[in-house]
């Protein structure tokens, strides 16, 4: 840059044309601008009135309501095992309030969640039928493998094979369905056993003889 030296700022053009003199330059910045600079002019106060108050009330109400609706998804919905037991053994109606089923005709099919209890849905799909046929063969081979393990799994697998061909309406991805079936079968208690969130592990040991039925 020409004219560099002795600490005098030099420009490639004649600044007078811009109307800014050498002396009237603002001080050089020594860092980022402050986060909350003091302003010369304070902001105008907000409008107040009946309309504004009403809209304020509406806004706060709407926020509260929407946070209670089932649309609001809480991140901890996948809870640890203990709480899932509680959820399942609570009266079904209390769970219904939290559920919301959209009309699946308007949504892509892949968004349907897997149901823990297979429910009959309208409309069969050829794809799943084919899958279930293929699966039966897989299942049989798996049965043999599992039977060797010998910890009650054959019983489970039988249930699964029964359910699979019979339930043509499931559009699930295979692996996840099996996982859920596994977990459902793990406990030995009937559905109506109601426990209010106490430690299941301890109780199960105590009551196994009295309550369990097969």
């Amino acid at each position: 840059m020409a004219g560099k030296g002795r600490g005098v700022a030099a420009f490639t053009f004649n600044i007078e044309a811009l109307g800014i003199g050498r002396g009237s330059m603002p001080e050089a910045r020594v860092g980022p601008s402050p986060l909350f600079p003091s302003t010369d002019f304070k902001p105008v106060p907000l409008k107040v009135g009946e309309d504004e108050d009403y809209m304020l009330a509406l806004k706060q109400e709407m926020r509260g309501t929407m946070q209670r609706l089932p649309h609001n998804i809480k991140p901890q919905s996948n809870r640890a095992e203990v709480e899932r037991y509680t959820e399942r053994y609570l009266k079904q109606s209390q769970m219904d309030d939290g559920e919301w089923t959209p009309d699946w005709k308007l949504f892509p099919k892949e968004l349907m969640p897997q149901k823990k209890k297979p429910r009959a849905k309208a409309g069969t799909k050829k794809k799943t039928v084919k899958l279930s046929r293929k699966d039966t063969d897989d299942m049989l081979s798996k049965l043999d493998a599992l039977a060797k393990k010998g910890d009650g799994n054959p019983e489970k697998s039988d249930d699964e094979t029964e359910k699979k061909p019979g339930d043509e309406d499931e559009e699930e991805i295979e692996g996840e369905e099996y996982d859920e079936e596994d977990i459902e079968e793990e406990n030995d208690y009937i559905e109506s056993y109601f426990d209010n969130g106490e430690d299941f592990a301890a109780d199960s040991d105590d009551n196994m003889d009295g309550e369990a039925t097969y």
Binding site: L56, L58, K59, Q67, H71, F107, P108, E110
Partner: protein, 538 residues
């Protein structure tokens, strides 16, 4: 989507739908159209939650899905639109407008629809009737037919519209608006039947919700409701027509501007003109259809009692006004007059810009700004002369405005080599880019307001929880009939300084909320202006 828009959308999603939906929504906004697997992979959220979040987003119209770009076999893709999410800011205004136009029934219909995204007419009518019955005295209940008629009124005036029908995803039907072959267009095209009220058999009255002690009966009542669910309008979903509300807000803005600038009578005349052109004007029209002075005279409300020659004088005044709200389009029928919608919006936006400069930099800077808006390009010397401000101060103000990007510098070379000593440097203001910049500032403002409110709530979380618990205790004590001493004892569990703190907190939160609502009004004006200048896609 600018960074500010995405940030604001994220905060709005978090407040209304939870953090999971926020993560999925912001991811979609940032990355464009994606299919389910990619979303799961990139956000790291479980399949279940992602599915639910997408359902919620689609239900509320914030996200559209279509078959993939690679052909009919590829997985469905989801695309979020920030416009729709930003509308959440305006929900209170929509509900309030419905209240002023259609009373409490209309208000609750719109509120329920906004909360649930889209619903069938029958479910909406039932829910609204139940809610209205809750607020009525004992023994009275709301009839479904009243609610249905309010619903039909809303549909007739186009405030509500049907959700567009979707083609099945297997077919490649490109005619449905849900497939974004075109970029995600938030306005739903009108298809036939868009505003047709279905024939619905729904007879009954609203049910008062029983108190929670009667749990059993409530469950049975619920079951009964679910059983008798089909009313002949299955599969027909309704949503709020935001565009129609926006047209209404725009008309209101024009009328109040005329009332402020001229007088009440002129605003009544403009209101009449706008009302007459409601059905004949398309939403994107530059100006209304021409109306003759005779027609206007006939349609004026009789309470105003304006004689014909006075009306003509008012119309001439309106036409001559520099704001150009009303224009003259011909001489037949006593003079043909139009309302210049786009020009009115541009003028309103300009007034907003000027007021922003005035409030931030003072009235002299505002004078310079207005001068530049009017005269387009001015040299430094000319600015000082026209604005009648001493040279040094004018330079300072211009420089401040320039550094804030409200004013731009235009170089006009005298010689081809752009030599600085032989170039004109002119200051100028471009209204449209400046309006866009201020719009982004508004988004940032609202996002900051929300963050501050969340921070304040978080800081005093312990105190808020304590006060909520105490209120709950008080309520249950009162319900079970306790003595006054017990009540005062419970009330005293909150100490006086804590009460003060709570009061201050409430005041702050109300102020922040109210500020959000009012910034949204500015957002609406600037957005309407920017959209009106967009050339229509052919």
């Amino acid at each position: 989507m600018t960074a500010q828009e995405v940030r604001l959308c994220g905060l709005l999603l978090r407040e209304h739908f939870g953090e999971v939906v926020e993560k999925v929504g912001t991811h979609l906004l940032r990355s464009g159209a994606q299919n389910l697997r990619t979303i799961i992979h990139e956000t790291g959220i479980s399949l279940d939650l992602v599915k639910k979040s997408l359902c919620v987003l689609v239900q509320h119209g914030a996200c559209v899905f279509s078959s993939g770009r690679k052909g009919p076999g590829s997985p469905t893709e989801y695309q979020a639109s920030s416009d729709r999410i930003l509308r959440i800011l305006r929900y209170p205004r929509y509900i309030y407008t419905a209240k002023t136009l259609y009373g409490d029934t209309g208000e609750i219909i719109i509120e329920e629809l906004l909360q649930r995204g889209h619903m069938t007419m029958s479910s909406n009518v039932k829910t609204v009737a139940d809610r209205l019955t809750q607020n009525m005295e004992e023994g009275r209940s709301m009839d479904y037919s009243e609610v249905s008629s309010a619903f039909s009124n809303l549909v007739e005036t186009h405030f509500l519209q049907r959700c567009p029908p979707l083609a099945g995803l297997g077919t490649t039907d490109a005619s449905t608006p849900a497939t974004p072959a075109t970029p995600a267009n938030p306005t739903t095209p009108s298809f036939p039947d868009c505003y047709k009220v279905p024939h619905m058999t729904l007879i009954g009255r609203g049910k008062r919700q029983l108190s929670s002690e009667d749990g059993e009966e409530q469950r049975n009542a619920k079951k009964a409701k679910l059983d008798s669910d089909t009313h002949g309008d299955e599969g027909i979903y309704w949503q709020v027509n935001f565009e129609r509300f926006h047209l209404h807000f725009r008309d209101q803005a024009i009328i109040s501007a005329v009332a402020n600038k001229l007088d009440q009578t002129s605003s009544e005349i403009v209101r009449t003109m706008l009302r007459m052109s409601e059905v004949t004007t398309s939403p994107t029209a530059t100006c209304t259809k021409p109306l003759s002075a005779n027609e206007i005279f006939r349609s004026l409300p009789s309470s105003y009692n304006i004689p014909r020659p006075i009306l003509d004088q008012y119309l001439t005044l309106l036409v001559d006004d520099p704001m150009e709200f009303v224009g003259k389009a011909g001489e037949s029928g006593g003079g043909m007059y139009v309302v210049n919608l786009h020009r009115a919006l541009a003028n309103l936006a300009r007034a907003t810009l000027e007021s922003v400069v005035q409030e931030r930099f003072g009235s002299r800077s505002a004078r310079i700004f207005r001068l530049l808006l009017r005269k387009r390009h001015l040299e430094q010397k000319q600015v000082e002369d026209f604005a009648m401000i001493p040279a040094k101060e004018a330079k300072d103000m211009l420089y401040t405005l320039l550094s804030q990007n409200l004013v731009q510098l235009q170089e006009i070379p005298k010689t081809p080599d752009y030599a600085p000593s032989r170039t004109f440097y002119l200051y100028t203001v471009n209204q449209l880019p400046t309006a866009r910049m201020l719009l982004q500032n508004c988004y940032k403002t609202v996002a900051n307001l929300i963050e501050r409110r969340l921070y304040e709530t978080k800081e005093s979380k312990r105190l808020l929880e304590k006060s909520q618990r105490i209120e709950a205790i008080l309520a249950s004590l009162q319900a079970s009939g306790a003595e006054p001493e017990q009540l005062t004892e419970v009330e005293e569990m909150i100490t006086a300084p804590e009460k003060q703190q709570l009061e201050a907190l409430r005041l702050h939160i109300n102020k922040l909320d109210s500020a959000e609502n009012q910034v949204d009004e500015t957002i609406f004006l600037l957005e309407s202006y920017v959209n009106s200048t967009a050339t229509p896609a052919s």
